[in-house]
């Protein structure tokens, strides 16, 4: 038997499932009400094309991506310094770390109702919840990265007469871990985004997904879910590429 091509061995199952879904839907589901609840892959593709053509999809993506960028950006600006402080000064670090430990078991999405009470429905509430969720991840990751810099590396550089210890030794040594923390923080923001948008938002991918249910157009829901997954994956791949570029020496 000739060996199967890599594309077949990798995507064969996915293609077969999609084919079964389409065929099964066309032949087995005759009741139009059931068909309404379970859109076929072709219906979803058509809905995606329609939503892309009238600009709805792009508007939703821009809105959601903007929220993620702003929320995660704020989390990085605050979280990286805080994490570095926690790792560098043991006593001050313990004072900052203990309250965070107390807060960490509460899933960030559980803050949605409280932030709604404090900020009201609107963009500020959305940013607050995304920034907070990403902040916890970025602080934890940065703390680990900075605490993981081998002390021997620092003393070796000091003994060899390096003056700019922080800039030339400590920062490059911690950078790969910090970059990973930033990536994880952005991923968390994409994750939490849907939950925050479901509860209160006027536009965005989460709203698109929710509208599908409310308008009884499940195809719209699937388009939104696909776009959300694609956005998260693309952002992660882009950040991974940046991470490799900036930490090429590792």
């Amino acid at each position: 038997m000739a060996p199967l091509s890599p594309a077949v061995t990798r995507w064969g199952l996915v293609a077969a499932l999609l084919g079964l879904w389409e065929l099964g839907g066309r032949t087995l589901v005759t009741d139009p009400r059931t068909a309404l609840f379970l859109p076929l892959p072709s219906t979803i593709a058509l809905a995606a094309a329609a939503l892309a053509r009238d600009g709805t999809l792009l508007a939703a993506i821009v809105r959601s991506a903007g929220r993620v960028a702003a929320g995660a950006g704020a989390a990085v600006l605050v979280g990286v310094p805080v994490g570095a402080v926690i790792a560098t000064w043991p006593r001050l670090g313990a004072a900052l770390d203990a309250p965070l430990r107390l807060v960490r078991p509460v899933p960030p999405v559980a803050w949605v109702p409280l932030t709604l009470l404090w900020f009201g429905v609107g963009e500020r509430q959305q940013l607050a919840i995304l920034a907070f969720a990403a902040l916890l991840v970025v602080v934890a990751g940065t703390t680990d990265a900075v605490a993981g810099v081998p002390p021997a590396l620092l003393s070796a550089a000091r003994n060899l007469g390096e003056r700019r210890l922080l800039l030339r030794v400590a920062v490059p040594a911690a950078l790969p871990g910090v970059a990973a923390a930033v990536r994880e923080g952005v991923g968390t923001a994409w994750f939490v985004l849907v939950a925050a948008e479901f509860v209160s938002a006027s536009e965005g991918l989460g709203v698109l997904i929710l509208e599908g249910r409310d308008l009884l157009e499940p195809a719209r829901t699937f388009v939104g879910m696909g776009a959300l997954a694609a956005c998260g994956a693309v952002t992660d791949l882009a950040l991974a590429a940046l991470q490799r570029r900036w930490t090429r020496w590792t």
């Binding site: 770390d97 999405v109 803050w111 949605v112 709604l116 009470l117 404090w118 879910m225």
Partner: protein
């Protein structure tokens, strides 16, 4: 007590006081802020404590609903995820085929399934449990698969050549070798299970702590919302502690 243990103890002691001060500072800042804002915006720690005590019946009732959903979804994720990881580690073809399917599905945040599940199944324990299942499944499969792949091949060959029965091969050789990674997946999955159940209950569920805290917001009862968050955090932390203890007990043979 060895020298290292004493050193570690001293370091802990050195960090315990600042840690307690940090928590005290947080509580003091909360109390001060609460004195400035009306209680329907930010109630103080004392008010929240009283709410926890007064509303304990409500909290317990909703906590039981939430725990049941987590148990259903997480149990299914473990029951399906571990054998699936074994299959992926054992068969390269399955690894590529199912692996690519899992990669696609994993990119979708589990809570994004809520609207479609509500449409299909309606509001109930089933929808929430499936969200929990989806949240916990991917980390469990990923870590366990890596764990199975990390078992030294020499051990597997030795077990096979010595004629180990399938039971001994899987239970006594493969599982212990993979256990550290399996546990790491179980812990990651557990954290995501809690996040997923809260998100699912926020969007639409009949009862549960997530639903309770959203209702509390609609009733302008931030004290009840915070009490619910405290309950969620306490349950998540306590169960995580149980999981860590189980891990330590299971892996006590490790150096």
């Amino acid at each position: 007590m060895s020298a290292t243990e004493r050193l570690a103890g001293a370091a802990l002691g050195g960090r315990r006081l600042p840690g307690a001060l940090g928590i005290a500072a947080l509580l003091a800042a909360w109390a001060l802020a609460a004195a400035r804002w009306p209680p329907h915006v930010l109630p103080g720690p004392d008010v929240v404590l009283r709410t926890v005590l007064d509303e304990r019946a409500l909290l317990l009732h909703n906590a039981a609903r939430t725990l049941w959903r987590v148990a259903l979804g997480y149990g299914a994720a473990v029951g399906i995820g571990l054998p699936l990881a074994g299959l992926l580690a054992g068969s390269p073809l399955a690894d590529r085929q199912v692996g690519s399917l899992l990669t696609l599905l994993r990119a979708i945040p589990p809570f994004a399934w809520t609207p479609i599940l509500l449409l299909w199944l309606g509001i109930g324990d089933g929808s929430a449990a499936i969200i929990v299942f989806l949240g916990a499944l991917f980390p469990i499969v990923r870590q366990a698969r890596a764990g199975f792949a990390a078992v030294p091949p020499a051990l597997l060959l030795a077990a096979r050549n010595l004629g180990a029965s399938p039971r001994i091969y899987w239970i006594d050789v493969v599982l212990p070798g993979a256990a550290p990674m399996v546990f790491s997946g179980l812990r990651l999955g557990w954290a995501l299970a809690w996040m997923s159940v809260v998100a699912a209950e926020l969007v639409g569920a009949d009862g549960g702590l997530g639903q309770m805290i959203l209702d509390a917001r609609n009733l302008a009862r931030p004290d009840l919302a915070i009490a619910g968050m405290v309950a969620i955090g306490a349950l998540a932390a306590a169960s995580e502690g149980l999981l860590t203890a189980a891990e330590r007990h299971t892996l006590r043979w490790r150096p």
